[in-house]
Amino acid sequence: MEAEGVHHSYGVRRVLRGIDVALPAGSVVGIVGENGAGKSTLLKILSGELRPDRGVVRHGGRFGYCPQQVVLNDAFTVRQHLDFFAAAYDVADLRRAEEVMEILGFDQYADVLVGTLSGGTRQKLNLTLAVMHDPQVLLLDEPYQGFDWETYLRFWDLVGDLRVAGRSVLVVSHLAYDTDRLDQVWRLRDGVLHGRQEDVR
């Protein structure tokens, strides 16, 4: 995935002022920054959800995106979500999705209506929908909100597995203690990414 010269403004407020990103294969990169720095805006642009005012974003291969706000349909069960997205991704079966559910510890909710699930379990499904097709590039916007500590650790184990498999993962976070789990940390400040060469491992 590559992005070149991405600019974006909300009215007169310039949020992104020239972002260049090239995500290396087999790496876990974090983008940190204060609230309102533009992290989610950047991820929306990288995922194609938002059109930048200027700049280009290119994707190659399978790609997954876990938005910060849970995007689910309360009228469907967990399994119906998986079926629906399996059709979207054109994957043959739900084996991988079921593996992820097991890792995140919510496989017992497969036939439960999403509208009745807790916030943390909804977030687990939100994440599962982003990774169930084994994406080569994965964009995660604060994907562990509402997770308990055990699930939080399992999430990072899952990310570690993806790294070993050669997948690229971009995680947006505002938590400083996540940074030791990342290969690189980029800080978004004043609309520009800083410290892009920083290797924290």
Partner: protein
């Protein structure tokens, strides 16, 4: 075709879980039609069929039951489609960005609307038939169906364009009330004027009244209603297209991996 079937199946599942809409269909329609039949005077009123120039004379209660049924089906399908579109805009977009083609996704919404409209309008026609015998009940049902489709697509368009739920609900109620109130000869002195030709349920009201009290086949009126459905439907599809499109400059393959390149997870939970 497979994606269309999947999206239609899940669309119907979602509509079936909309219990308030189910309650409206089951209770509101017969109560509304029954109350108009009881409360409105039976004195004959005149209603002009613009397509043929004939002036019909029918009981005020029966004509009001027709406008009441039209009002009921427009509100139900309008609300159903608005609620589904409004609450699932982000979900549809996520599905689309995950690789679900938008054509079968959009067509599935139309298919769900057709099925819902057939059920609701058959029920409304049956309710009317419990009170009196329309001359052409099938055509009466078809007229109700056409306006239900029009308001259903209006619900899709409003659900995509508006930002607050109350705005859409208010818009659907007011459009339907003004639309049908102006065409009821008991409620409006201008019901027989040329101005009503521009209202979104004009074709359906003309066709339904002709079906109820004459042997005329109101082909022109159905065409007018079809034109309204087409125009509102195109607006809805355009709004749906804009809402679900990806902003990426180059479209790439999202899914479609094979077992050979699917990397197994290590069951981290068991570590």
């Amino acid at each position: 075709m497979r994606l269309f079937k999947i999206a239609t199946r899940y669309g119907l599942v979602e509509h079936a879980r909309n219990r308030f809409a189910m309650l409206l269909v089951a209770v509101f329609l017969p109560v509304w039609v029954m109350m108009t039949g009881w409360a409105i005077a039976k004195e004959p009123v005149q209603f002009r069929l613009h397509g043929t120039g004939h002036v019909l004379t029918a009981g005020g209660d029966k004509i009001t039951q027709i406008t009441g049924a039209l009002n009921g089906v427009t509100l139900i399908t309008g609300f159903m489609m608005f609620a589904a579109t409004f609450s699932n805009g982000a979900f549809d977009r996520r599905l689309s960005m995950a690789g679900f083609h938008r054509v079968p996704l959009g067509l599935a919404k139309v298919a769900c609307l057709v099925i819902a409209s057939v059920v609701v309008c058959s029920y409304a026609t049956a309710v009317i038939c419990c009170f009196w015998s329309p001359r052409q009940p099938v055509l009466l049902g078809a007229a109700l169906f056409c306006t239900a489709m029009t308001y259903g697509t209006l619900g899709v368009a409003l659900g995509t364009l508006l930002h607050r739920e109350v705005e859409g609900m208010f818009a659907i109620v007011m459009i339907s009330v003004v639309d049908l109130g102006l065409q009821n000869p008991l409620a409006s002195g201008g019901a027989n004027s040329d101005m009503v030709r521009w209202l979104p349920s004009y074709g359906a009201m003309q066709a339904a009244t002709a079906a109820g009290f004459s042997s005329t086949v109101p082909a022109v009126d159905f065409t007018v209603q079809l034109a309204w459905f087409t125009a509102v439907g195109l607006l809805g599809l355009l709004a749906f297209h804009r809402r679900t499109r990806s902003a990426l400059t180059a479209t790439v393959q999202i899914g479609r991996q094979t077992d050979t390149d699917l990397v197994p997870l290590k069951k981290s939970a068991n570590r």
